[in-house]
Amino acid sequence: MSTQNTNKINDFTIRVATVNGSGSQSANSVLIKSIFYMGIPVAGKNIFPSNIAGLPTWYNIRVSREGYVGMRRDAEILILMNADTFQEDLAQAKPGTVVVFNDKLPQQNMRPDLVYYPMPFNKLVQECCEVSTLRKLVINMIYVGAVAQLLGIDMDKVRHALERQFHNKPKAVELNWKAALCGFEYAKNNVKKNDPYGVLAMDKTTGKIVITGNESAALGALFGGCTVFAWYPITPASSLGESLIDYLAQHRREAEDHQARFAVVQAEDELAALGMAIGAGWAGARAATSTSGPGISLMAEFAGLAYFTEIPVVIFDVQRLGPSTGLPTRTSQGDILFTQFLSHGDTHHLAVIPATPEECFSLSYEAFNLAEEFQTPVFVMSDLDLGMNNWMSDPFTYPKEPFRRGKVLTAEQLEKLGAAGFERYGDPDGDGIPYRTLPGTKHPKAAYFTRGSGHTARATYSEKPEDWKWVLDRIAKKIETAKERLPQPVIEKTSGAKVGLIAYGSTHFALIEARDQLAAQGIKTHYLRIRGLPLNGAVGKFIEECEYVYVVEQNQQGQMMNLMKMNYPALAGRMRSVLHYDGMPIDASNIAQPILKWEGKNL
């Protein structure tokens, strides 16, 4: 084989197998950034265990000149540092896979159809790092240097990435740089390259950023004016709260006395977290909480209270695999149905579904507008894959629109209303959206009694059937009004296509790639991406315009398709489910393969 095989340039996946807690995270991050700084599209995915240290973990680095950043099951290059998974990793490799591995690992049954580059990591780390206690931390940086040499990654970019990674710690930079150089030199002098993979500089990442979905959502909360944020730690949502704390601490303090223009509370549990956000939303703050599956389950009662008492609040759900504790470090889109109707009785919640870091930012700040505009909980449906992995993105654009704070009456406005006052739960504008006042408003007619029990338009207690029905129907009307103001679906039409694909959230990246794969097989497709719930007319119209649609989602029950069937029963016959729910992020072949089968193209 020759290195001139251009097919293999800038188009392969590296999979690194290490032990959780061994510090491989920074090595992998430097490796990714070095490739990124060469202008080559690259994406990282952490496949990690629910464990602090000791269990196996894998990191996927996908290099793609086409800019595909979705999951890939196959890897062309394996870096194997973990004795526990060594045999299994080898067994699963496809023929021709390049294997960089620690030569100390026991080598039985070495398959003859793989390309091996054994490396004496233990010996090298003794040479490049004098302090024995630090060796464990830098050993992984040796493979970074070695892989850089083997693939042609520019060492200046590795240096640059190291400096960014450890920007305040020059000692750490030097220590790691020595290790990277050591790996580079060893590979140069001892490894005879026998594979076609390599990188060549491009200009496809200029001006791009690399960010996780959770950090993006935290920025959305910062720029969306969130002031009270209550949370309880849970994977994979924790990093959202943690980055929000950092951003708020830096960018939301009074100039003179540095006092906070925010309150972040680590609550005692998720019930309290949502309770606090609801209390704050009621009192007029932009308030939010973030959690994942088990926390959402605990929040059910409060979600219904906020729905029925009409209190704005934003709930970030970074979905993980359930039911129950499930797999806390694995991704899913399994909370779609539960959050839509969370709580007992007739509830129906608004949701926005970001698919990219940019949308994690923009739909998050929009969620605060929607919550206040419609005085209701708004769920931001992210997931582990989107939330915790690093993604390339265009830089975020500054929100153009001012805050929409909804129908809030001031003391002056109340004065104008005169003796009759206002109806907290009325419908004076005919759009189902009532007016509210905020506690502390200096007017004798401002106050009202908030209760989750039956009430009239004037917020007095009532058990009368007609009062109950009127208020509940008026809220339903409000939700109906909201449908048109939620983020609308993004639709891409292809001329001559008969088939439609429908997806949402982090499935998007794999879907783009799958569409290209389908097109290459002669199957043209339209594509609709849902960004807001409840579904509105645009989705129904799209289905009508397709012969049939494949609804692609990362759950077992076809939750979104079930919502579609509820909304468009007459079109149910045109819907087909493509499901993926093993906890790994969906990849393009998970989508293309079943569709090709349906379409009668067995490949």
């Binding site: 004016g225 223009r261 009192a283 008492t309 905020l438 106050a447």
Partner: protein
Amino acid sequence: MTQPATTPPATPVQPKTNRLGLTRQNYTGSPSTLCPGCGHDSVTSSIITACFEVGIDPQQLIKMSGIGCSSKTPAYFMSQSFAFNSVHGRMPSVATGAMLANTDLKCIGISGDGDTASIGLGQFMHLLRRNVPMVYIIDNNGVYGLTKGQFSATADKGSKLKSGLANDFPPIDCCAMAIELKCSFVARSFSGDNKQLVPLIKAALSHKGTALLDVISPCITFNNHEGSTMSYDSVRAHDIPLHEIGFVPAVEPIKAEFDPGTTKDIELPDGSHIRLKKIDRDYDPTNRIGALDTIEKSRSKGEWLTGLLYIREGEPDYNTLMHLSKTPLAHMSEKELRPSETVLKEIMGELM
């Protein structure tokens, strides 16, 4: 609420007004729908008196509650104040959020013994830990009134339900627990003793941080029979007031002299004073361990010690601990909340 019979005066008396020019009428709410004779209604009446007399601004007060007969009572006082009747046992979190959002507000929370000590024990304890600025009143009757008389977690061991069923478990003493959790204002009182309860509520309103009032408030319908330790008769028989309580508002010059040998005078953060006149035992409400010891000993004798059990001024409240801006978060404008475009550009630059 029975009023003493009086002969009508010849000329109508102008209603007395408080420092805000408001009458007691301005502090009332909707008519109560509780059982006639329910202890909770007397607590409501004491709240009205206290708030009226010290001149709490109704438009600045929020009334928070959970679920239960007790939690309904915010509807029965101060209808010019905002109220939030939330969900069972979770009032503490809702109140915490509201108080963070607007530090200008004052807050009275009303809960029941079931609401606080059974379903809501966790949130209650965390509210105390955080020292959220509010007056927290428990209408404690030892049963779930609203669900028709099952035992709550404050029911005494051996106390009997109407059916004769005895409680096998030791009670949770919310006051002892609050002192243990470093709550800095802890009092116990009896709904039937408004002479004691009114000045305690006034002092609680002047306290910085959480002020806990555990008010024994008999349920006349489900827990007022022989064999119950929380019936009116039983509470009257075992109520041992620690001191006579007087409240001197900040605005009034301190005229009445007191004998430091028999009366303890404690200044509250807003300049008002609470005065505790000894009845028959020496009691120091600033001694935490002493307070716990006294409560424990008297409870084992079946007594209800009432009065100001523990006080310590000068502790930082939640707003202080959170370093909140002087401007309430709820009043901040977009300009104060959304960082500039330059800030976003800088953040983006760091991610490139």
